[in-house]
């Protein structure tokens, strides 16, 4: 069985995001980029399934600018077998990504697709569910525990208020939550090895997928800022302020 893992290049989660002065977006020039953290967890899970001899090949795929190949190389250095870059210079929306992934999946026939539950840039939380709907495959989203057995998957999903256990047959779409696993670091020898692993380049046109944007970005702005308040000297003072000034208790 093949496992396909889509990975996205985003601003590193440790970097403080800055809005561009013309409000057209956030500053991406000279900003440290990295693999979306949820996607690292997806790659790790795919590798663990392969290491447990439940899969033969892990394919990392990214849709984006040329530099997204660095993100694919990171997945290859972690242990993925080969990569596919679907290159586009334009900003691309989850619906188009899902369509591109669908056309790759029809070619590659993976038994399982594992994605991060959301990307930490646009916070859309859509691609996995959209892909599942387009393929008419079962979906398990926000998964914090995953078991494969007899061509079936048992997943534990993180839902508001607790956990939910569901089961489905393969092929399936899984989107992962933070607590599923702790992704490995790529070792230096593996980083070197990754440079020689195959990386195929395609374009949305090659796949016959139209990627016109449906959402026009009108404006990107800073959120309203909060002023720092006062430092109080005692719990007494705090209780007094909460009762008599803020009137919240």
């Amino acid at each position: 069985m093949k496992i396909l893992v889509p990975v996205k290049r985003v601003i590193d989660y440790n970097v403080k995001v800055r809005v561009k002065p013309d409000n057209s977006g956030v500053e991406l020039a000279n900003v440290k980029m990295a693999m979306n953290p949820f996607d690292e967890i997806a790659v790790e899970q795919a590798l663990r399934i392969k290491e447990a001899s439940q899969a033969d090949e892990v394919i990392a795929i990214s849709v984006g600018v040329q530099e997204s190949q660095d993100t694919i190389r990171t997945a290859l250095a972690m242990g993925a077998d080969r990569g596919i870059l679907v290159k586009t210079e334009q900003d691309i929306e989850p619906l188009s990504v899902a369509k591109i992934l669908k056309s790759i999946i029809e070619k590659e026939n993976p038994g399982l697709v594992i994605l991060g539950k959301q990307a930490i840039d646009d916070d859309c939380n859509q691609t996995g569910q959209m892909l599942s709907a387009l393929l008419d495959w079962p979906q398990s989203t926000f998964v914090s525990n995953l078991e494969l057995k007899d061509k079936k998957i048992l997943s534990v999903r993180e839902v508001d208020g607790g956990l939910e256990h569901i089961q489905c047959s393969l092929p399936a779409i899984v989107t992962v939550d933070l607590r599923l696993n702790e992704p490995r670091y790529a070792s230096l020898p593996n980083i070197m090895k990754a440079k020689r692993k195959p990386l195929e380049e395609l374009t949305p046109d090659d796949l016959g997928v139209e990627t016109k944007k449906r959402l026009e970005v009108v404006k990107v702005e800073d959120p309203p800022s909060r002023e720092a308040g006062v430092i109080l000297g005692s719990v007494d003072e705090l209780v007094d302020k909460l009762k008599n000034e803020a009137k919240v208790i």
Binding site: I11, Y13, K16, V26, P94, L95, D121, D122, C124, N125, Q126, Q129, M130, S132, A133, L134, D136, P138, Q139, T141, F142, L154, E158, V159, D160, G161, G162, L163, E164, H165, I166, Q167, C168, D177, L178, K213, R214, L215, V217, V218, K219, V220, E221, D222, P223, R226, A228, G229, V230, I231, L232, G233, V235, D236, L238, K241, L242, A246, V248, I249
Partner: protein, 310 residues
């Protein structure tokens, strides 16, 4: 313009998030229906019927919707979509699960987690965990929207007189099968709807120390939350987590105890009306967003707070 709001419930009670979503819908237009799908959910239909100024409550009562399996739910919503220009659901784990499927099946780009309605096609939504706000205008003929509950007031839930109609169900898709839920049972209010939230961070040092927060919470009628650091350290379960990857809360009062205030945590609570920070590190970033701060050892301050609010 015609709007369908997909209600959220547990087959017996309509959730508060539905009322927030209806408020967002009312800012878009006035021709609104509410869909209640579930199993033995007639009572929820009646509750929804009490919301003022709704045309119809559509009730789909059938086994395949009992556990809100996304494949089954989305197929019903798609079957109704031709009648509506806007489909709206709360941005809960349930809404996030089925709504993008609806969007893809209708070939529409979803607008996730809106916090403001500008006009019937233009909405504001947070990106980068709320570190930037993005206004987007949709060119799709239908708008598929999820609503961040904390950004909209709840609408009234009494006095309405909507017509309640049973609708055809779309059947079991046989894709995913529900096995069981492990829901945290608690007498305290739910994190996302509580008026007061008291959260602990890594500074709590141990899970058992959360009892101190629970005692204060019970006196204040508050919910108990935690930072991701406290969850990762195993002090409390993940559903306590407030932040970018956990729950987004906006209570009247948020008390952060032993929480340094990482960006990831601030993203989940900075819209709270009043923020209190108790931390022994005076340089902790949490003090930059707090209305009231005390620089002290939480192990002294919390028992004292407990005694003095009594």
């Amino acid at each position: 313009m015609s709007i369908l709001v997909i209600a959220e419930h547990d087959n017996s009670n309509l959730s508060a998030a539905t009322l927030n979503a209806v408020t967002a819908a009312k800012q878009i237009g006035s021709n609104i229906d509410v869909l209640v799908l579930g199993k033995n959910c007639q009572e929820v239909g009646k509750q929804a019927g009490q919301i003022p100024n709704i045309n119809s409550i559509l009730v789909a009562d059938s086994e395949e919707y009992k556990n809100f399996i996304a494949e089954n739910v989305s197929s019903l919503i798609v079957s109704l979509a031709q009648n509506y220009t806007h489909l709206i659901a709360p941005s809960s784990t349930t809404g996030k699960n089925f709504m993008p499927r609806v969007a893809a099946l209708l070939n529409v780009m979803q607008i996730s987690d809106i916090i403001k309605v500008i006009d019937d096609a233009t909405f504001q939504r947070p990106i980068y965990a709320g570190n930037a706000l993005c206004t987007v205008k949709s060119s799709d003929t239908k708008k598929i929207i999820t609503v961040r509950s904390t950004a909209f007031e709840a609408c009234d839930d009494e006095g309405g007189n909507a017509e309640i109609k049973s609708i055809d169900c779309t059947g079991e898709t046989n894709k995913s099968h529900y096995i069981k839920s492990e829901l945290s049972s608690s007498e305290r209010p739910e994190l996302t709807s509580a008026k007061i939230v008291i959260s602990g961070g890594r500074g709590m040092q141990d899970g058992s120390n959360f009892e101190m927060l629970e005692k204060v919470a019970d006196k204040l009628g508050a919910a108990v939350g935690a930072s991701r650091a406290a969850v990762d350290a195993g002090f409390v379960p993940n559903d306590y987590q407030v932040g970018q990857t956990g729950k987004v809360v906006a209570p009247e009062l948020y008390i952060a105890v032993g929480i340094s205030g990482a960006i990831q945590h601030l993203a989940g609570m900075k819209d709270s009306k009043v923020i209190v920070a108790i931390n022994k590190d005076e340089d902790a970033p949490i003090f930059q967003v707090a209305d009231y701060g005390i620089v002290t050892d939480l192990f002294d301050a919390i028992p004292e707070l407990d005694a003095k609010i009594g």
